[in-house]
Symmetry: C2
């Protein structure tokens, strides 16, 4: 090309125009985040299908596909900073030149990216493949109650988690690095304090409740409930809670869960027992609580931190608030019990609402966490937390876990574990590599109690409304105070803004005291 003055001028003009048309750096970042989110949702579908539909022999290929896709996503995550984009935006946000939503996106993305940057692609692929295989073996080990079958896979997972902590870095305990994935800023030390506080309240309170003279016979609520009718009833409750079935599904799987491909495609799984209607209801209400959060996150921010839940603890607060604070309340059943009695007259016509309420709020130490009542539930969490912390810190031998599990169940809940399928094999988490996740369940209960109290103070006739079947009022309150903000605030700030108080276990222990003393003491 001839380098004439005219050509030079043209090039300058072109450059200026290109600059004027070029997307702003924050837009480029959002575009990159979007691509990652959409690709990740293909991975979410792989996982959902594995639980719900995949034929048995497809498992090996599935784990390879999941690993390859995870590796692609990981590579794209690392490339977020391509051209120094993210670092430049981070400096701008730190200097206050980028504010508001843009700053939130940048700061949160920076945090995640920093963490991921430290994990080599090969490590991420290996982790995905190991977890996918371990999950399959766990299903079989759980079925046959064979901890030894699962042990080598657990060992691989724990090794990978320790390696992950080492790569990510931590101050006090490698467990800190794992916790941080689920509840940003939360530490092993803080978890130990809160869970010990809870333990100090719960063990004597449980003993007190055990002395109750009130007798409950949950067998009275058993019967024969055809699965097709149970499905319809569960769907009706989810719908009434506000779950949008045009933007989601309700299916069956071994472990109830909620997964999100997009805010417009949120999938719940629950589980049924033909003889026990109440078994499915709790899970369905719980998962619908999660799903409402996902469906209400601002869709226009999908893929960015503004379109994501604050933390696992806050997520769990939504499911637990619906499952327990609302779903096990008298107000809720004032509306739903007559409807349930119409569909399932036997045995419910002969059981009063008051008796039903006592039954669903029965406090009874049990083996399975997901079936535990509100009082004993956190003791299950404490047990898992204590074991997995030591697992990761390397202070116990993995083959001893079933024995340790048995000893702690005896000490905290006073019950004996029969087989490992009712013990160390009962939960999906470890097989899925989710170590550090359990403490967020306790936080969920704590936040839920605070949010429920604040909501009742703000809407004095809330229970009356719920008793009339108006579940839109609590849903909209939660939407306004929690859902629509995405990750704009950290968990502690969000709870403070919504309830006037920073996270404290007081609301929860007050709630337990008041409710269970009224029912049983």
């Amino acid at each position: 090309m001839k380098n004439t003055r005219s050509a030079k001028k043209k090039r300058v003009v072109r450059r200026v125009r290109a600059k004027a048309k070029a997307p702003r750096p924050i837009e480029v970042l959002v575009k990159r985040l979007n691509e990652i989110a959409y690709l990740s949702s293909a991975g979410v579908l792989l996982g959902w299908d594995q639980d719900v539909h995949m034929p048995e022999k497809g498992a090996d290929a599935r784990s390879v596909t999941a690993a390859h896709l995870a590796s692609v996503v990981h590579t794209k995550l690392l490339a977020l900073d391509e051209g120094g984009l993210l670092a430049r935006l981070k400096r701008k946000a730190d200097r206050g030149e980028l504010r508001g939503k843009g700053a939130t996106i940048v700061q949160e993305t920076w945090r995640t990216w920093q963490r991921q940057k430290k994990l080599p692609s090969a490590f991420v692929a290996q982790r995905a493949q190991t977890e996918s295989r371990a999950h399959r073996v766990w299903l079989e080990a759980r079925r046959t109650s064979d901890f030894k079958l699962f042990l080598p896979h657990l060992r691989q997972i724990v090794e990978l988690k320790r390696e992950e902590a080492r790569l990510v870095g931590y101050k006090d305990s490698p467990y800190d690095a794992l916790l941080d994935t689920y509840e940003p800023g939360f530490t092993t030390a803080a978890a130990t304090v809160i869970l010990n506080e809870l333990k100090d309240f719960l063990i004597p309170f449980l003993k007190e409740l055990k002395s109750s003279k009130v007798k409950v016979d949950p067998k009275r609520t058993l019967g024969h409930f055809p699965l097709s009718e149970q499905r319809v009833f569960n769907e009706m409750i989810a719908k009434k809670m506000g779950f949008d079935f045009a933007a989601g599904r309700l299916d069956e799987a071994v472990h109830p869960s909620t997964i999100t491909l997009h805010h417009s495609d949120v999938r719940i799984t629950t589980r049924y027992r033909e003889g026990d209607l109440l078994y499915s209801l709790g899970s369905t209400i719980h998962e619908t609580g999660h799903a409402l959060y996902e469906q209400s996150l601002p869709s226009e921010h999908f893929g960015t931190p503004l379109g994501e839940a604050v933390s696992f603890g806050v997520h769990e607060s939504q499911s637990r608030l619906w499952e327990n604070n609302i779903g096990k309340s008298d107000a809720f059943w004032r509306y739903f019990y007559p409807r349930l009695q119409r569909v399932f007259p036997r045995p419910f016509k002969s059981i009063s609402r008051h008796d039903l309420i006592r039954t669903i709020n029965q406090v009874k130490p049990s083996l399975i966490r997901t079936e535990a009542d509100e009082v004993t539930y956190n003791l299950h969490i404490i047990l898992r937390f204590e074991i997995e912390r030591e697992m990761v810190e390397g202070t116990i031998a993995l083959e001893d876990i079933p024995a340790i599990w048995r000893a702690k169940m005896r000490e905290y809940l006073g019950i004996e574990v029969g087989s490992d399928r009712e013990g160390a094999l009962q939960d999906v988490h470890w097989s899925a590599g989710c170590i550090g996740y359990f403490p967020t369940y306790a936080l969920g209960n704590i936040y839920a109690a605070q949010l429920s109290r604040a909501m009742h103070r703000a809407i004095p006739d809330l229970d009356l409304r719920i008793a009339k079947g108006d579940l839109a009022t609590p849903r909209e309150w939660l939407r306004k105070h929690v859902h629509i903000h995405g990750k704009t605030y950290e968990a502690a700030s969000l709870i403070k803004r919504a309830t006037g108080e920073y996270p404290t276990s007081r609301a929860f222990t007050d709630y337990l005291s008041e409710k269970y003393r009224a029912l049983y003491l």
Copy 2:
């Protein structure tokens, strides 16, 4: 590091060892192909889920996810040659320095790669997104029989297909470039010759059959067949044919299909009508024929051409051979009819096997291709081929398609099209961007007749075996002569090896003449 002689020596040794351990170029290529195949299978799952499970509002996000994934796969496909690997292997194969399986892998990969290399990533992403949206609109347009609703989407697809042909390159017609995707080496000119030959046989033969005095009343086979029982019966037949349910599924969708995530995860969809048992059976047998091919491809070669079907025509030969040559034969029903009569005594107890055979082989011009009998079926194909060739060559206006469709249906089959859902909107193909696909259906029928004749000559008592419920014999013959070879041979060579003859329509027209003259003339 100090550069002493000893250190140098160590480095040299290390280099030699590294070289000794380095994977061979063909192994690197296979590894790359594997990654592509596993990632593609995530895309296959996205499509299957869209048809079978996806909630309505999830469609937009799904099309974006599909587009992003397609773009990732496309990028990896282009990168197959990274470092000149593929070109180097191609030269080796051409010079005969690489032979056997390795050569097949390289030559076939080269062919696909050459084609893909010509399509920019942005084009591939746009195509995937357009097709995903069009598919959704088509479902709605078909439901409401509203061609105009679908028209703008069809226009986009045709434009993209013309662009694709332009990018890929072609000699005579842009349609050549599209055909080549489905039946490598096949041309528009060849398709025109074969389909005109068939048309010349079929139109007079159909007239002859219309003069038959034999009366068939298909309404006699209607009744009430609960879907749950139909599902069980369909599964039983698929199982008997050899479909491995531990490595696959059978579900329901608008359009029956077979998709493969991996040879260990092959999924069939079929469709049911409560009043018409025979409606589902044909589809299920057809799709199971496809699925047996997929499940029998050599698993150790997954991802490479050796683990892939030869062509769409050969694939269709497997489904049609099972659906028609076997599934509509007297031998087949000698075994299955008593079983069907036991499960569905009404109305089948009062219908003789001979009458059933006549009913399922009734020749009657009809509106819906997938319900057409063996004689009229290819006239449907000819109609679509003629329209889509002109669509792509730009010699018809797309808004005229419903009218052209009506005119051709009148001319070839002598029937009137009522609404477009029974006309131009009936098939999924165009909405999925599968233009150039239809002619392979006719080839499938031709190959099937050749294979069936060869199999009967090789196994003289084949019909006796089938009549005893032994479907393993034909399945194993097909496995040996077709399935296990993957893409080792091109369609024409494979048919020659298996049957002794290159592809010819003679076996098919002989088969039709013989079978239908015996039944009706």
